[in-house]
Amino acid sequence: MISHIYHSSHNRRGTAIILALVFGVLLLQFAIAYSGLVGKSRPQTDIIDERVRLHYLSTGLTEIALLKFQKFPADFYNSWRFQASSSTNLSFWQDTTGPLSEFSIAAPEFIEYKTNGFAASRSSFNERPIRLWLTEMRLMTDNRWNVEVLQIKAHAEYAGRTGKPVNIDTVRTLRTERITRR
């Protein structure tokens, strides 16, 4: 009987160490996984910063486009009518040639920062220039309701910390009233 008890306790010897080792290995795996997760996750400042920065610049560009429309409405409408009647593209406002594009998406004042970017919007932890350009300036007309709406869209993007492009589209929509002088 004594011999039996002795053998039994002898078999259990080292169980705690084995359990601790298994537990330890699991904890190490958890630590490695957690470290990987922390490494991959972006700081919250980056996420807030890039959205805010891009938003302000692209909104600013739509403001300039709206000013141009205010100053030269007849030229915009003429360009629009010409493009609508002569283009084979259903989304003719996205044509890259013709007077409408010269007025909007291809105008030098709206693509000034498309290639080299705008560098003045920066901080001590973010020096990356932002590429900025106008992507759309179109009328959304509904004759049934006699409503005409101008939609201006600007795009801003930059290479994020990981090199992936981060971008934002700002859309500005406003109702317009066309007055024809005869």
Binding site: I2, I5, Y6, S9, R13, T15, A16, I17, L19, A20, L21, F23, G24, V25, L27, F30, A31, I32, Y34, S35, V38, P43, Q44, T45, I48, D49, V52, R53, Y56, L57, T59, G60, E63, I64, L66, L67, K68, Q70, K71, F72, D75, N78, S79, R81, F82, A84, S85, S86, P99, E102, F103, A107, P108, E109, F118, A120, S121, S123, S124, F125
Partner: protein
């Protein structure tokens, strides 16, 4: 003479427990390290997030001032509180939770040239837009678009280097 089995069992268990605890303690160290790094990074970023919020809030407020308000100050950095009967904006230094943030607003003119395709009225049928032709005209403008630059700078607690955060936007004179 062999030891009694019960006594031997107790002694080994204590050693085992100590070794086991040591192994577990060692295993916890990388986890604590990772957590510590994460917490430190969060605390450090807190001041940056606050600066961002301040910058955004102040830029929004500055955009509520009438367009013509900043004309006398074009290009001159403003670092003192400003106000109109409708809007007020706190600029300059302000201390929040032990960190002093300094806000400076610069409003500068952004002259430019609009490219305007102008229809040649003498050419084509007025009723048929397909026959119309256009000539590009460049129209220069001044004092119609302003660049708003708001910079918030600060020094972290225990730090020496000045950090800054800048937001920029454009504002056009859309009064007409």
């Amino acid at each position: 003479m062999p030891h009694p089995p019960a006594a031997r069992q107790r002694g080994v268990t204590l050693t085992e427990i100590m070794i086991a605890m040591f192994i577990i303690a060692i295993s916890f160290m990388p986890i604590m390290g990772a957590l510590g790094t994460s917490v430190k990074a969060t605390v450090k970023e807190d001041t940056v997030v606050r600066a961002m919020n301040l910058c955004q809030e102040k830029l929004n407020t500055s955009l509520h001032f009438p367009f013509e308000f900043f004309v006398p100050n074009l290009g001159t950095p403003i670092d003192v509180p400003i106000a109109t009967p409708g809007v007020s904006l706190t600029l300059g230094p302000e201390t929040i939770e032990g960190v002093t943030y300094t806000s400076v607003l610069t409003v500068s003119d952004r002259p430019g040239i609009f490219r305007v395709p102008v229809r040649n009225l003498a050419v084509g049928n007025p009723a048929d837009p397909k026959t119309w032709t256009f000539t590009n005209r460049n129209v220069a403008y001044n004092n119609l678009v302003h660049t708003y630059t708001l910079e918030v700078s600060w020094i972290d607690k225990g730090g020496t280097a000045r950090r800054f955060y800048t937001l920029v936007t454009f504002r056009a004179d859309l009064r007409s």
